[in-house]
Point group: C2
DNA sequence: CAGCTATATTACCAAACGGTAATATAAGAG
DNA sequence: CTCTTATATTACCGTTTGGTAATATAGCTG
């Protein structure tokens, strides 16, 4: 049983897990848009986009205004900060492995140089 | 129909959307663990954890060794880098809003100082 | 070999997801 | 008031997800 209200991070990451929703956010980074403007490029029905918007709204990533007969959607990036923080706690781990990879590459390069003379760096 | 292979980011974000899986990653940040060591703290059945591990593995966030009769799980943070990059593209948006908040806070502080004298900074 | 331990796999279930078509509602325009 | 446009809601469907219990497999150990 897992009936407790989902944590914000759950919803943020879940929202980001869908490429359509990421694309919507990318579009909104260029400025507000109406729902129809968001429907156009996606080859999805309008209700589908409205659903995605509801998910994004539930994650706090998007908010809506009331402008005449249209309801413009705008990006709200604040929740991304918490997500970035969470991921950031692991930065040292991927940097470690990059370091290791880097070291490994260096070893390889040294070997190759010893065996085959100069080798061009990619 | 959406049958194309899911992109790595999809799977990474989807994997991160579950708190149990985030907790597993947190545990692995402290070092390798066997499956049973991961089962213990979570009040979930062993198959449930194995399933979560499969999801994490599918996202490339975890890899497994073969050490005698146990199969130690270790963190592989590399995919988090791409996720961090993706989110990072939106940093300016949340910093913008933070700036606004910050400005607002400054206004408040000024008001309070005017009204109530010196105020300690957190 | 037999038995124990660690892990994976299977079968099953309820709930959530991602989509559609059809319909309802809201609000400006004539 | 009626028409039209923009958006939301409903009803429905197949697939995926997160969990379980039961069972199978792998590999030490006696």
């Amino acid at each position: 049983m897992h009936s407790a209200a989902p944590q914000p991070l759950d919803r943020v990451f879940a929202a980001l897990a869908d490429p359509t929703r990421r694309a919507i956010l990318a579009r909104l980074a260029a400025g507000e848009a109406t729902v129809n403007e968001l429907v156009a490029p996606f080859d999805l029905s309008q209700p589908a986009i409205s659903k995605h918007l509801k998910v994004l709204e539930g994650a706090g990533l998007v908010s809506r205004g009331r402008s005449a007969q249209t309801r413009p959607v705008r990006l709200n990036a604040a929740p991304l900060e918490r997500a970035a923080q969470w991921i950031g706690d692991y930065r040292r781990f991927w940097e470690e492995s990059l370091d290791q990879l880097d070291a490994y590459v260096k070893v390889l390069n040294r070997k190759e140089m010893r065996h085959a003379g100069k080798r061009r760096r990619k």
